[in-house]
C-alpha cells in the first residue's frame, strides 16, 4: 500500500473535486497547501507513479456527450467467470466490470455512442455468454460525485 503523509492526503482531497482550472494549476495548488510548485509536482508525480492518482482529466457527462449507458448484470457459472469477464472487457465501451457475490455475479457498465450500438453489444454478449442477463439502465440519477474521503 502507498504511504501517504499529511500533505499527500491534503493534495489528494483537493484535486478530486477542485483541481484548479488554470494554465498553471500546480502553482495554485502550491499556494493552497503552502509548499513550492516544484514540490507539488514532485509529490504528484510520485502519487501517479505509485497508483494513488490514476489520471487528472475530464469526467465526462455521458448524457451531454450523446453517449448512452447502462449497468448490466450476468448470471455466470463460477467456472466461466474469468472467460466471460475477459470477453466483456474486450469491448472498449465497457468502463467497469466486477465480480460480486450472488446469483447475478458479473456486473459491468457500458456506454456507447447510440442505443443501437448498445443493444448490439448486449445482443452479442447474450449470444456469446448464453447466460441470464439483466439490463439496468438509469431511470433517474440522484448522485454521481465520486469523491473519496481520504482519512
Amino acid at each position: 500500500m502507498i504511504q501517504l503523509d499529511k500533505i499527500d492526503k491534503k493534495l489528494l482531497n483537493l484535486i478530486q473535486l477542485d483541481f484548479p482550472l488554470d494554465i498553471y494549476p500546480f502553482r495554485i495548488l502550491a499556494d493552497k497547501v503552502g509548499i513550492s510548485e516544484d514540490e507539488v509536482i514532485k509529490r504528484m508525480q510520485r502519487l501517479k507513479e505509485e497508483g494513488a492518482i490514476r489520471r487528472i482529466g475530464p469526467i465526462i457527462n455521458s448524457r451531454n456527450t450523446g453517449l448512452v449507458g447502462t449497468l448490466v448484470a450476468l448470471k455466470v457459472p463460477e467456472d466461466r467467470t474469468e472467460q466471460i469477464a475477459e470477453l466483456i472487457n474486450s469491448y472498449p465501451e465497457v468502463s467497469h466490470n466486477y465480480l460480486r457475490p450472488g446469483d447475478y455475479n458479473l456486473w459491468f457498465t457500458l456506454s456507447a455512442p447510440n442505443s443501437e450500438r448498445l443493444q448490439e453489444i448486449l445482443e452479442e454478449l447474450r449470444q456469446e455468454a448464453q447466460c441470464p442477463m439483466m439490463d439496468l439502465p438509469t431511470i433517474q440519477l440522484f448522485k454521481i460525485g465520486v469523491k473519496f474521503k481520504i482519512k
Partner: protein, 154 residues
C-alpha cells in the same frame, strides 16, 4: 447539448490524463493551434454546460487503502423512489445513487455505491442508510474482483 469540434478535441487530448508538469496544457495548445488560456477557457465552459461533470483526479482508491466497494441495492416502494433517492444522495459515503428498473426475481430499484476502508465500514454505512430512510429490504454486494475500471471515454 452539442459540443464544438475544438471541445471534442480537448476532451480526446485530456481524457487519458494531463501531464504533471508546470504547464500541462502546453502540448495540447500547440497541437490544436490555440492558446493555453483558450484550452482552459473551453474546459471551464464545458463544465458550465455540464458536458464535463468534473475536471480533476481519479484516485486509485484501492492503492491507498480504500479497498471496500459495496453496491447496495434497495427495494423501495415506487412512490417513494424520488424522496428516498434524494435522501440517500446526501450521504457523504454514497458516491453514486441511481434508480434502475426491477426485473423478475430482482425487486431492487435503487442502487447506491459505497466506498470505504473496510467491509465493516461499508456494512455500517448501509445500516445507517437503512435507518435514515426506513428501507430495510436491501442487499450489500461487495466486489470480489475488479476485472476492469476506467473512465468513460469519447
Amino acid at each position: 447539448m452539442e459540443m464544438t469540434e475544438i471541445q471534442r478535441q480537448i476532451i480526446i487530448l485530456t481524457q487519458e490524463g494531463i501531464p504533471i508538469t508546470s504547464s500541462p496544457y502546453k502540448d495540447i495548445s500547440h497541437q490544436l493551434g490555440i492558446t493555453e488560456e483558450e484550452v482552459v477557457k473551453q474546459i471551464k465552459l464545458m463544465k458550465d454546460l455540464d458536458i464535463i461533470r468534473r475536471f480533476g483526479a481519479s484516485i486509485g482508491h484501492r492503492d491507498i487503502g480504500i479497498t471496500a466497494n459495496a453496491m447496495c441495492v434497495w427495494n423501495v416502494p415506487d412512490e417513494d423512489v424520488e424522496d428516498v433517492g434524494r435522501l440517500m444522495a446526501t450521504i457523504d459515503d454514497v458516491t453514486h445513487c441511481y434508480a434502475r428498473p426491477r426485473h423478475p426475481g430482482w425487486p431492487y430499484n435503487i442502487f447506491t455505491m459505497v466506498h470505504s476502508y473496510t467491509r465493516d465500514d461499508c456494512l455500517a454505512i448501509a445500516k445507517e442508510i437503512s435507518k435514515l430512510t426506513g428501507i430495510d429490504n436491501y442487499k450489500v454486494m461487495f466486489s470480489e474482483k475488479e476485472f476492469k475500471k476506467t473512465g468513460i471515454r469519447l
